[in-house]
């Protein structure tokens, strides 16, 4: 009954919008927006093209040393050979796997722990200075120890990523539970809600935006820790590859590693953004609707 009413209304509303969308004015505005966007894309590509072109020209003209800087053509050749040998994919996969797994474990446990601290003011007061101290330590400083304990394989990288994301997740979730509107809690109390009901119906959902924005920070932190760990000791991964090739002065291969890391970072970040819009549908609805009101 409820569903039929709402869907009925939405379809009427969207039909109305669609009819409007065909008007000359709207079509012109949309065409102008597309044109402006194409302009932006064109200029971006132009800048990349110009940088690579000048770089290549300077190397060929002998103005800069190809040995110390590499050249776009050598980097491209190296990329093709590394892709066809399968080495690049293998390294990228190792790094992504350690990053995503460590991020997932650290963020999940940290967020949960931060939320649960809401239940006990005493416990949170006791552990507060420890959390602050741990947060202040650059997590990469723990890498030598973690590698000694967990070996030079992927497991130590996962632990490193989990440790560096855990504290940020915990702090954000804990702070989020303190942003809660007391009146909303009182409203729940006026319904006779238990502490558990207040937690599950108010504390958790209203903390979600904070928790998710910590995910955005954490995915970057996890990647930094994994690559850092791979620098120190590992048998594969993009960090390992960059470190080894760097020692061999194979600059084109180092560049391939750096560009691959850029792509990996962008893809991981996009993944977290997708997760955000899935977990917070109401904030998306708000942002897409508010301009028209």
């Amino acid at each position: 009954m409820a569903n039929t009413t709402t869907t009925g209304n939405t379809s009427v509303a969207s039909a109305h919008v669609a009819a409007k969308g065909k008007s000359e004015f709207v079509r012109k505005r949309q065409a102008a927006a597309v044109k402006a966007w194409l302009m932006v894309v064109f200029w971006r590509l132009a800048i990349i093209g110009a940088v690579l072109g000048i770089w290549e020209a300077l190397v060929r003209g002998g103005a800069i040393n190809a040995f110390l800087l590499g050249s776009p053509s050598a980097i491209a050749k190296m990329a093709v050979s590394m892709i066809s040998s399968g080495q690049l994919m293998e390294d990228a996969y190792a790094t992504v796997r350690a990053t995503v797994t460590g991020f997932g474990i650290g963020s999940a446990i940290g967020s949960l722990a931060g939320l649960l601290l809401w239940f006990s003011r005493t416990v949170s007061r006791i552990i507060d200075p420890f959390v602050v101290a741990l947060n202040g330590v650059p997590k990469i400083a723990l890498a030598p120890m973690i590698i000694i304990w967990f070996g030079s394989g992927i497991f130590s990288k996962i632990v490193l990523a989990a440790v560096s994301t855990f504290i940020v997740a915990l702090l954000s979730a804990y702070q989020a539970t303190h942003q809660i509107d007391d009146s909303q809690v009182n409203l729940m109390k006026s319904f006779g809600a238990s502490k558990m009901q207040i937690f599950s119906k108010i504390i958790v959902p209203s903390s979600l935006p904070w928790i998710i924005s910590a995910f955005r920070i954490n995915i970057g932190l996890a990647l930094v820790s994994v690559v850092g760990g791979e620098f120190i000791s590992s048998d594969k991964g993009l960090g390992h590859m960059i470190f080894v090739e760097g020692n061999l002065f194979n600059l084109p291969a180092v560049w391939v590693g750096v560009f691959t890391l850029m792509i990996v970072a962008a893809v991981l970040y996009a993944g977290v953004s997708m997760l955000e819009s899935r977990l917070l549908p109401w904030s998306e609805g708000k942002s897409s609707k508010s301009p028209s009101v």
Partner: protein, 262 residues
């Protein structure tokens, strides 16, 4: 006393301890009786502890001394006997309108299908069923307050506390909503307690008005109004000849301090 009182507040005091360790008396011996199905307003200068009274009646705060009985029973803690509506609607942004209205029923452990049916029947009764699937952020302030009232009504409390629910709304919406909410509460047979600083609003909706002193607060004077009950409308009550007289009396009773130095 022949009629039963819905709320009986006797000799209630409330003190807080401030950061310097001094005792601050907020409420000083408050006694009031509110009858069933009566609509009363509590008016007082700002900072007079109106919200403290509100929280004590709602069972969210314990008085320092004195007692409160609601429906004849002593209240020790909030168990859903009182519903309330605040200046901010407090709709949960991550829930649809229907899910917001069902919140109280969910807390009380009512089954999924049943709470859905109850919530939809209320939304239909007040012509909000078209918004059942919408998120609160897409509704206007007046609409959101209507939803907030319905959310309170579905759990069927006998008493509705209203803490300046209209103060964030524009003037026109406020007049319409005062009228509407008053008639909803009358239809549903609820007892209403409105806390407001708006004297005109209090006169137009109330059966009785309690005028409070400044802190430490006590009931300074009680006025019998009954204009809205007589006309059956808060809007019509505003055009009664006695309206202005009530306003002047209550205004002079309020300890309102103007920006005068001295």
């Amino acid at each position: 006393m022949l009629t039963t009182s819905a709320i009986s507040v006797s000799n209630v005091t409330k003190s807080f301890v401030n950061a310097e360790g001094q005792e601050i008396a907020v409420l000083n011996d408050i006694t009031m009786d509110i009858q069933e199905r009566e609509f009363v307003s509590i008016v007082g200068p700002s900072g007079c502890g109106k919200s403290t009274i509100f929280n004590i009646i709602a069972g969210l705060l314990q008085p320092t001394s004195g007692s409160i009985t609601v429906g004849g029973a002593d209240i020790k803690q909030s168990t859903g006997h009182v519903g309330y509506m605040m200046q901010r609607d407090l709709l949960l942004p991550w829930r649809s309108i229907l899910d917001n209205v069902m919140l109280g029923l969910e807390v009380k452990g009512i089954g999924k299908k049943e709470r859905r049916d109850i919530a939809m029947s209320y939304l239909e009764r007040y012509h909000l069923e078209a918004f059942a699937g919408a998120y609160p952020s897409t509704l206007s302030g007046g609409m959101r307050q209507r939803v907030a009232l319905i959310r309170t009504l579905v759990t069927q409390p006998d008493i509705i506390l209203l803490d300046e629910p209209f103060s964030a709304l524009d003037y026109q919406t406020r007049l319409v909503l005062e009228d509407e909410i008053l008639s909803i509460l009358r239809d549903e047979g609820k007892t209403g307690v409105l806390i407001t600083h708006d004297i005109e609003e209090a006169i137009s909706v109330s059966d009785r008005i309690f005028v409070m002193s400044k802190r430490p607060t006590y009931v300074k004077k009680t006025y019998d109004i009954g204009l809205s009950a007589h006309y059956g409308s808060a809007m019509k009550a505003r055009s009664d000849v006695r309206f202005k007289g009530f306003f002047e009396d209550i205004w002079s009773e309020l300890d309102i301090q103007m920006g005068r130095v001295g």
